[in-house]
């Protein structure tokens, strides 16, 4: 009897280990693919990046010295395979090169912009879940009820609203007409100290966070809604109600758990969407984060920064999806089988 349980447990652990190994093994070619795609980005422009730098359309003239440096940096005169191996070697050493704009290491510029983006995206992620989950649970609790239908219409309209348009409208209304919130920036100049300083920063955060949040509400609310609606009809929720749990308890403690798993698995894929949104939102609100750094680097053809940030975005998403998959498998043993 005891031996049997132990055997079962051991095979469960083996299964988990096998799952983890398989998942990581699948991530290795993906990681390699990301590095290849980023490498190809710099070779996109007809001819070479160096020629694109000086092209008339780009509207920017780049000195011959910078062009020569670029050719040297990427070894553009060498054959493609050799270039690729060199690029691989630099990535492996986390050497992203120097920014063309201010000669500082790319990693340093990324590190400077990271906190602003983390604050923005962290808050956006928090509010997305904090708003979408209760809506999804309430809607799934009574499918096709008035709240379900009403919330679906509102979320659908929000989903269809272009973020740059929404940003301009709220800026016009709340900042220009009513004067409640600052138009852009991280803080007032000069920034007030102490508690007023904190309030000032929050006021500056309010609109960018809102703009980064509203678009993804529909997706997550719908995900939670379908999980809850599906579980609601099942015996374990009926049983919970029969045991005397309130409707609210039955929905949150039992039905919502059913929706939690797909939610966790998809969290990793939220990251690229947030970073995409950051580019637009940070540009409109003059927010000094990664999105703005990326956009500025695109405009100034600062290839090392563009490549570094693309690589970072891809690898971070891969890591996040991997972590989400592993977390889901830890919670639900059934997932370990399909891998």
């Amino acid at each position: 009897m005891v031996g049997q349980t132990q055997r079962v447990r051991r095979s469960g652990e083996e299964e988990l280990t096998r799952f983890l190994l398989r998942r990581i093994a699948l991530a290795v070619p993906t990681l390699f693919g990301i590095v290849v795609v980023v490498f190809l980005l710099v070779h996109l422009a007809p001819g070479s990046p160096a020629s694109a730098l000086g092209s008339a359309e780009s509207g920017r003239r780049v000195s011959a010295a910078a062009r020569a440096e670029l050719r040297h940096l990427y070894g553009l005169d060498r054959p493609l395979p050799e270039r690729f191996v060199r690029w691989l070697g630099r990535v492996a050493r986390f050497d992203l090169g120097e920014s063309f704009v201010d000669r500082r290491p790319v990693s340093e510029r990324i590190r400077e912009a990271l906190p602003a983006t983390l604050a923005l995206n962290g808050l956006a992620l928090f509010f997305t879940l904090a708003i979408a989950i209760p809506i999804g649970v309430a809607a799934g609790g009574r499918p096709e009820g008035p709240f379900d239908r009403g919330s679906a219409v509102v979320l659908f309209a929000l989903y269809s609203t272009p973020v740059f348009w929404a940003a301009l409208l709220v800026q016009t209304l709340l900042c220009v007409k009513l004067g409640w919130l600052p138009l852009y920036g991280v803080s007032s100049d000069p920034a007030p100290a102490g508690f007023a300083g904190l309030a000032d920063r929050l006021a500056h955060l309010a609109l960018p966070v809102t703009c980064l949040t509203y678009g993804s509400l529909a997706f997550f609310a719908r995900l939670v809604r379908s999980g809850v609606a599906e579980a609601r009809a099942q015996d374990f929720v009926t049983a919970a109600l029969a045991r005397g749990l309130s409707r609210r308890q039955a929905l949150w403690r039992h039905a919502f758990r059913n929706a939690l798993l797909p939610l966790v698995t998809l969290l990793g894929l939220l990251l690229p969407g947030l970073l995409s949104g950051s580019v637009i939102v940070e540009r409109i609100f003059a927010w000094p984060g990664l999105g703005r750094l990326y956009f500025d680097s695109i405009l100034s053809r600062d290839y090392p920064v563009v490549l570094g940030l693309s690589l970072l975005g891809g690898v971070a998403t891969l890591a996040a999806t991997l972590a989400a998959d592993v977390a889901a498998a830890l919670v639900d043993p059934r997932l370990r089988e399909s891998g």
Partner: protein, 270 residues
Amino acid sequence: MIRRLPASGRVALSVVALLWLVAAISPLFAGRASEIRLEDRLRAPSLAHPFGTDDLGRDLAARVVVATPISLTIGLVAAAVSLSVGFGIGGAAGYFGGATDLLLSRLIEVVLCFPVLFLLLALAAFLPPSPTTVVLAIGLTTWPSDARYARAEILKAKSLDYARAAKAAGASPMRILVRHLLPNALAPLLVSAAFGVSWAILAEAALSFLGVGLPAPAASWGGILSSAPAYIEEAWWLALFPGLALFATVSAYNLLAESLRRATTEAGGK
């Protein structure tokens, strides 16, 4: 198919038809849209200028109308590129399975890992600016979601009885694909197409808003919107009306896609 659409879907379809109608008659407004009258710059909406005028005194309503075919066409063509690439790669992965599937699925996963706008901006900015560049940039960055969808649909269809029956009857893989699987993939294809168009219109608008979309003088709704931030303190209409056109178009296509999906899944369930 239209008969099966719910009421919301018919409304969406009418709006889409109306937009294409506006696009068709838009050349009539071309003259008015490009007429620069500096003495009339930044006028608020009035009877003479229902949407007001822009920073060069051009009539904003005419500009929004003239931008309609640009946004709609780019959205349609870019979505077609994305769908062809996506359904080709995803369909092949699902149909052939095995090593092909493993390889193509990695490829899909790789592209999905990048923030779409990162790739989109890089492609649009590094390639010479032209409508072709915009279409290709959008098509080549948004196909992975189409591919994932196509792969799942083909996998599902392959396991259905009619496909297995055709195989048992000795039909060649090509015949099964063309005669049996493709006709049944039509509904998901239409749903993807409608979502794809709305996505592509948004992507083009975002690129043009950021200033790396269509080269001047062609102006899409996103392009008109790009001048709005500079005048945000004085001319709210510059932001409101082009965005409203964009919002109406994107919601109509989204609603159409949603209704198509509902119509086809409900029909399939019965």
